[in-house]
Each structure stands twice: as structure tokens, then as C-alpha cells.
Amino acid sequence: MRITKTLAAALTAVAFCGACSGGAPSQAQAQPVAPFAPADAQTTKIVGAAQAYLASLSVAQRTASLFAYNDADQRKLWSNFPNGIVQRKGVTWGELNETQRARLMDLLGAVLSPEGVKMMREQMDADEYLANNPSQNVFGGGARGGGQPRQASGPPPGGGAPPGGGGARGPLRFGADLYYTAFLGLPSATAPWMLQFGGHHLAVNATVVGANVTITPSLTGGQPVKFDWQGKPIYIVEHEVREAQALINSLNPDQRGKAVISPAAIDLILGPGHDGQTLQPEGLQANAMAADQKAKLLSLIEARIGIMNADDAGAAIAKIRANIDQTWFAWFGPTTEAGGAYFRVTGPTIVMEFSPQDVRTGGVSNHLHNMYRDPTNDYGVAWAALP
């Protein structure tokens, strides 16, 4: 459900009224599962940056950016697919002027870590690379997506069929301009809300509930992940690939026999459209790992969760560390080439998948679909129940 232009303006007015902030209408709010901790310094920084970004937008852009917190269709509107196959909603990078882009980067810089922001920008560069080299994408074509000024009314620049109805797709489009920002609920220190930022191969779903912030579910990866861009070599997931290979290399034959499920890589299991499914762990349980192997497992986890700001990543990692002996590591594919196999970490508060595409029988993929979920808290449902 899209918030109407009138309502958006009203919400915005409320949001930027110092005396009455946090007074969003009931339809945009969720019910807390339990009293939650009041906003801490990190959340205050995030909320302030979000409000500054929204304040920099035109009325039409704000209208296009804001959705009710209980908008289930918008919440799930993320994918690894490019625009055209998926018609995202929100305001695109291409529609933003330099000031607005700076405000958005401030916001993303508050939600994410410097490494997370770097990864996000490299993802956008990768899609720009695909726009410049259409034969390189797996669809073998597609056009560049351009930024266009948003009119006071009318469809977003992505165009095409609206999501949610199972309609036919629009034309394929690639490029950095086609990364969308949207909000479910208004940025608030006292009520739940969510920031969505994403496009092809990227979905950051950041739910903020008082002091608590989670980015689950998040989709990362990219294509290409290893490329030259503006004279510089880029390798988007280098740190994570290195940590995973260090862990698999550290296992003895018996451990490896348990961890390696199959010599062939598999596809993502808990990708988009698979919310709320509780995957059974398999592979090697960490209680059968030596201390240095557990440390490697944690380093691998930190490489993924470390895209989030240090304060909130620390909270997530603390829970994972407390449950490390109930955490499992599974591997599908060859163990000889870093980056060429699917792997999965499964624990009480984490499912982390790394899924190279098109490498079932070996080789290093330049095309990744990766997921990070918290089976107890995707979209912050442990803190605020979804309507």
C-alpha cells in the first residue's frame, strides 16, 4: 500500500516537527513484541540521517519513498534480479541530485560500516559495468537505466508492470542509477521503521526498533565481483572468500568429510521469497571444531555481518558467539579454488549463504548470490511483530 501524496506530506510534516516527532499514524506502526530499549547513539545517528535525507527530497520524491510499516508487499520487494524483471519501488539513485546523494550516503554510512558502504558502491559500479558491457550479464542484453526527474505524479522511472500482481516484466535495465531507496514507516527513535536500499544483486533491509537495528534479511553478492573499474581492480567479496577458504583448509579429513556435503555447488536456498522458513542445519557442527577453527568460523561470519555498523554488528555477533557451539558449517563444491563453492553457516540466529553461480563443476565464479538471515529476527520481528 503506497502512502498517498497527501498523507506523505502530512507524515513528513509530523516527522520534521520537533515538538511532535514520532507521531506517525497507526497504520504505519507495528506493535512491539516487548518493551524495547530506547534509541541509543547509533540509532539517533541513523534517525537523524534518515530525516535529513527525507528533508532534502521534493514532495514527489518523498511520496514515492514512503510506505506504511505494515506494507507486506513492499517489505518483500527485493531481489537479486535486475530492474525490468523486478519492478522495485522508491526513489532511484539516478533521480537524486548531488545534495540528496550526499544525504543518502550519510544515511547508509550510519546504517552500514565503511566496509559495507564500500561493498554497496562496488555493487553499483558492477551494475554500471554491466550497463557498459551488456554482453557480460547473464541475460545477454539490457539497456542502461537513466536518472530522470520525478514528476509530481506518475510511475517511477523503472516503469513496467507493478509488482505484486504477477504481471509480465518490463525491459531489462542496468546501471548504478537504478538502486532504490524506500522507507516503511517514518524514521523514528521510538517506533519501528525500515530502510530499504537495493537493486540488482543488492538488498539492504534495515529495520530499526529503538536501540535495535538489524539488516536481516540482506542479499549481497554481485556480478561481476572481480573487475577493473576506472583503473582500479575491484574484488567485492575478497575478505569473505579468504576467510571461508581459511576455514575449509583448516579442517582435518574427518571434519572435512562432515562439512563437505557435495562436490557440486548448489543454488541459494533462502533467497528472496523464502521468508520464515527454518532450514535444518547440516555439515560440521562447531562443537567439533578446535578453538582456532571456531575463531576462523567467527571471522567468516564477521566478514559478512561486518557490513553493518559496528555497534549493531557487535550486538548480532555477540549472540552468534554465545551460540557458536550450536552453529554449523556446510560446503557444497570443490575445496581447491577459493570462491568456487557454495557454503552455508547455520546457527540459532544466523543463516549465511554464499552461492556462486554457474560453477557447478568447478572454477571461480564472478557472479554471486549471497544471503544473511536471522531465523529469529528477520525484519526485526523479535522486536516488533509485523501486522
Partner: protein
């Protein structure tokens, strides 16, 4: 200090539109999601065909070749695929009952840009103790990448999965589990 998470994630069962997440051009990707639930096992079988092999799926799905997927065609396709799966529960063959088929628009499938979802259910005993489940998906319209995995929806029962084995090609899954109240 961040508040500790204590509540299980709510089920968000409805799938997002266009949620296929793999797009190799020359493969049919099949993901089997088997869920142990009280008194039953459910199956969600996702079929995502790459653009180069989409015809191998569409020939059967769009039986009258009119470029549209009717409800009857979708159901017939679902039954056809289910007939090429084998399910055993405690070493006895079990039958799937087709619940529904989510078939995206013809052109989306043709372009390798969407997923067909077959939903089925089979009755299962919830006697306390140890049990086995085996599943095999033999549907093979073209070069296929397959995976099968087990999920839990325990309700008033408790399930403990003691072991899983996968076939090397991803088509077979065996699950050893225990049920308790």
C-alpha cells in the same frame, strides 16, 4: 545495550513476486523445500528455467501452446511433476496431494525470469520416536541443477533432525528425525 531477541520469526508465508533467485541460461534450477509439520510433510517445489531451456518446461506447461498458462494447465503440470517424485515415510511410499501451482506469466518463464511453484502435502504419522523420510525428484526437462532441503514447522510437536544425506546430483534427500511431544 541492545535488547536480546527472544521471539521466533513470524512466518511470512506468501512469496514475493518474481522471486526466482537463479538465472543460468541453460539450466533448469529445481529447489525442493520439504517441511515437517504436525501430521504432514509439505513440499514447495520451485522450478526456474533459464531462457535457453524454458521451452523444455513450457512444452508441458502450456499444453495447448496458446502462450497462456491456464489454471487447468498449471494443475496438470503440477501433477505431472509430482508423478516424477518419490516420497517415502518410514520406508513406505507416500502420495503427494497437489494443493496449488503458482505459474507466472508465460513470457516471464520464456525469458527465464520467474519461478513456477508447486505446493503439495502428504500425510505423515506423528508417533513419538525415530522416523525416516526420503525424497527424490526425477523431473528432468533439460540440464538440471537440483537441491532438496528439510525445514521444520513443529507446532505442538518437537522434531529433531538427527541426520541428512543428499544425493550427489541434489535430487535425493534422506532425513532421519525424531518426534516428541
Amino acid at each position: 545495550m541492545k535488547l536480546a531477541a527472544t521471539v521466533l520469526a513470524a512466518a511470512l508465508a506468501a512469496a514475493a513476486p518474481n522471486d526466482a533467485h537463479a538465472h543460468p541460461l541453460d539450466e533448469v534450477v529445481q529447489g525442493s523445500y520439504l517441511t515437517l509439520a504436525p501430521g504432514q510433510v509439505t513440499l514447495q517445489l520451485d522450478i526456474s528455467s533459464g531462457a535457453q531451456v524454458a521451452d523444455s518446461v513450457l512444452r508441458r506447461l502450456d499444453a495447448d501452446n496458446d502462450g497462456q498458462i491456464s489454471s487447468d494447465e498449471a494443475k496438470a503440470f503440477g501433477r505431472f511433476v509430482l508423478d516424477q517424485t518419490d516420497l517415502t515415510l518410514d520406508d513406505r511410499p507416500a502420495a503427494w496431494r497437489l494443493e496449488r501451482v503458482e505459474a507466472p506469466p508465460y513470457q516471464n518463464i520464456r525469458d527465464g525470469a520467474d519461478t513456477i511453484k508447486i505446493h503439495a502435502v502428504a500425510r505423515r504419522s506423528d508417533r513419538t520416536g525415530f522416523h525416516t523420510l526420503t525424497f527424490e525428484n526425477r523431473y528432468n526437462p533439460a540440464k538440471t541443477q537440483a537441491a532438496a532441503n528439510v525445514f521444520l514447522r513443529p507446532g505442538r510437536w518437537r522434531y529433531h533432525v538427527g541426520g541428512q544425506t543428499h544425493g550427489a546430483d541434489g535430487r535425493r534427500l534422506a532425513v532421519y528425525y525424531e518426534t516428541a511431544r
